[in-house]
């Protein structure tokens, strides 16, 4: 049954756009906030996801979560540069997107402008790892921020559980759906017939074909955990404490007491990934502060400079600093937060306190007398307790 184009509102673009289903927002939208500045690419998140959901036969190449080095890393190879190339040069007019989305640019007979990765594109999850731009010989000394010549950073990638998913639009069988209760996007494992249309359509390349069951699979937002009020595996395994699993309201319903609303709508410090593609993705990134702005604007849209400025001032902004410190502080999903008397607190939906984190940890100075003597030698310093 052919789908019909309709107009929907995409607030990330500041305008209406074409989509293949009516606008239908979930009761609340699953979201993840990533502070790119804190990532060390240890892949603890990747392994947490893999060892929970995708270590079966047929899922070998699947990384529902992956960390890639930008600008030269990507999994699958070239996922973003290929789609940008396909779409061609597009412009923003201030905060309003003046270009075409992947739905608007879809050729006749297609629902989405897309491309299918080759099998070999899935072979190199760590391609470009730690490769910076430029050459260290030319830029031996980097004191300015952002760096103009030599830089790289890590991008944390999961499915964006988009408001307007390309995977849903492209599926000729309506086998992919968005849960009304939390906006998590799932592939119906009973309905899918393995056409791989979603692999071509999703610009983020976050649906994957199971080689044994011959149907598509994707990040499930750890929904069994969400249903228990818990943050996802990739969030809680993150040693950099840079992720926050949360729920996001549409901008007009933003509530500053809610963590994601505060970061995305109030402070506008967390930005969507490639918003110009038109999917209204629901993973938000605090951009890396040392990376040239033109590159970041292509990735995260027009709000980049402001977000970087805010982040640099976070030390003088107790509310923002407090919320950033609540990242990785609890496995439970924080419904609301506040910062009072030097302490950031997270609360559950019933208002009970889940966690409290001081903005400054107390400092203890150990007297020198406690220093240990080593085999009769006089004490010369503190012994590390390792």
């Amino acid at each position: 049954m052919a789908k019909q184009r309709v107009k929907v509102r995409n607030w990330q673009l500041g305008r209406e756009m074409d989509y293949w289903y009516e606008e239908s927002r979930p009761v609340r939208q699953f979201t993840m906030i990533m502070d790119t500045n804190k990532c060390i690419a240890c892949q603890s998140c990747t392994i947490a996801c893999k060892s929970t959901w995708t270590w079966g036969k047929g899922q070998e190449y699947m990384l529902w979560n992956n960390i890639e080095t930008k600008p030269y890393g990507y999994y699958p190879t070239g996922w973003d540069v290929n789609v940008l190339d396909l779409l061609g040069r597009q412009e923003w007019d201030g905060d309003v997107y003046a270009g075409e989305t992947l739905f608007e640019a879809a050729p006749a007979g297609e629902y989405v402008l897309g491309w299918a990765p080759d099998e070999a594109d899935w072979n190199h999850p760590n391609i470009g790892e730690d490769e910076p731009t430029g050459s260290a010989d030319d830029t031996p000394y980097l004191e300015d921020l952002p760096h103009s010549l030599m830089w790289m950073y890590y991008l944390q990638r999961i499915c964006n559980h988009c408001t307007y998913p390309a995977c849903v639009a492209a599926c000729p069988r309506d086998a992919i759906y968005k849960r009304p209760e939390d906006g998590v996007v799932l592939v119906d494992q009973e309905r899918c017939r393995g056409y791989q249309e979603c692999l071509t359509a999703c610009p983020y390349k976050k649906t994957m074909f199971n080689l044994e069951t011959r149907v598509s699979e994707k990040c499930i937002g750890c929904y069994p955990k969400l249903e228990q009020g818990l943050q996802t595996q990739c969030t809680t395994a993150c040693i950099g404490r840079l992720r926050l699993t949360n729920y996001l309201s549409p901008p007009e319903a933003s509530d500053p007491r809610k963590p994601a609303d505060f970061l995305v709508h109030e402070r506008k410090i967390a930005l969507p990934l490639y918003p110009q593609l038109g999917l209204e993705p629901n993973v938000y990134y605090i951009p890396p502060i040392h990376v040239p702005v033109p590159h970041l604007m292509q990735m995260f849209g027009p709000g980049v400079e402001r977000a970087i400025e805010l982040y640099k001032q976070a030390k003088d902004d107790p509310e923002l600093l407090g919320l950033l410190l609540l990242f990785g502080s609890t496995e439970r999903i924080i419904d609301t937060f506040d910062v009072r008397d030097g302490v950031a607190r997270g609360y559950a939906q019933d208002g009970s306190e889940i966690v409290a984190v001081p903005l400054r940890e107390p400092t203890f100075v150990r007297p020198f007398e406690f220093a240990t003597e080593v085999s009769g030698e006089p004490a010369t310093g503190y012994r590390h307790n390792t």
């Binding site: 049954m1 069988r173 393995g194 249309e197």
Partner: protein, 296 residues
């Protein structure tokens, strides 16, 4: 068809404009299909044959008893996603029946065997579409709401499944696995890592009794799998073409009316070339052609 409708209108209603030429299998046949009160001259006739039908032997000499219809194929460009480039121009069809079973033999040119599914690896396949009731057929777009069609699909991958030779170890013969769920978990738990299979998706099963799936559809994207395994079939790839035989009981319990002689039937076909990334709606299809069963 409503009175006063022209043949072109009927095709428009069926969403098949652009494929008008595709149905021209011997002009007499097609013209006879629409609106004629006289018994149509069928483009494809299932010859009557006593005894067993060669339902899984496309190379049997029994097929020589049936006349061959050459059916033009068109790339599907009625409903997205479209097939951009045609890779095969025609299908050759023969049919037999013995009063209780109906069988088809279908051949088409295809230079490669594609019988392993993987990332961007698709399979060769062929499908036969039949109306569920005699008379004017439902829309060519795999029927319509309230106007179901009966479809039989043979897939090269399913045929290979019968040999147990599909899956990761076949796609990547040098694959090394360390610990897999079934090495360390009880079978019930390990099977959770094959979600599609566990959920009962017929596409995900590799242990199967037949390479032919039967479905009922009411429009593109609405296929419903029929669990009864009453269809048989087998394909042979030889000299740059596939020959596939498939057969099923003429009594179509739970699907539609029995296929009987002395009634006006239609049949349509679809072909997928795996190496050209054909799958789902990205297929070659033939419009309805008049089909009849020879009286015993």
């Amino acid at each position: 068809m409503a009175e006063g409708m022209t043949r072109k209108d009927a095709l428009v209603a069926a969403g098949a404009v652009g494929a008008v030429g595709a149905g021209a299998v011997g002009a007499a046949g097609v013209l006879g299909l629409f609106g004629s009160e006289a018994p149509p001259e069928a483009a494809l006739v299932a010859a009557y044959r006593r005894g067993e039908l060669p339902q899984d032997d496309p190379q049997s000499s029994a097929w020589d008893d049936a006349a061959e219809a050459v059916v033009p194929l068109s790339p599907q460009r009625v409903s997205p996603p479209f097939l951009d480039a045609a890779g095969v121009a025609e299908l050759r069809a023969r049919a037999l029946h013995n009063g209780s079973d109906v069988a088809f033999r279908l051949t088409w040119d295809d230079g490669s065997v594609d019988d392993l599914d993987g990332v961007r690896r698709y399979h060769d396949a062929v499908a036969v579409m039949l109306p569920t009731v005699a008379g004017d057929p439902a829309p060519i777009t795999m029927g319509d709401r309230g106007k179901p069609v009966h479809i039989l699909q043979w897939r090269a991958t399913w045929q290979r499944d019968l040999t147990g030779q599909t899956g990761v170890d076949q796609i990547y013969p040098r694959v090394e696995h360390d610990v897999m769920p079934d090495d360390v978990l009880p079978p019930q738990t390990a099977s959770l890592y094959w979600v599609g299979r566990k959920a009962g998706n017929p596409l995900s099963q590799v242990k199967r009794a037949t390479p032919v799936e039967q479905i009922v559809a009411e429009g593109f994207g609405t296929t419903t799998h029929l669990p009864e395994l009453t269809a048989r079939g087998r394909g042979v790839h030889d000299g740059g073409s596939w020959a596939v035989a498939l057969g099923f009981p003429a009594k179509r319990d739970g699907v539609g009316a029995a296929l009987e002689p002395a009634q006006r039937w239609s049949v349509a076909f679809a072909v997928w070339l795996g190496d050209q990334e054909n799958r789902g709606g990205r297929k070659h299809y033939a419009n309805w052609i008049p089909f009849a069963l020879e009286l015993p």
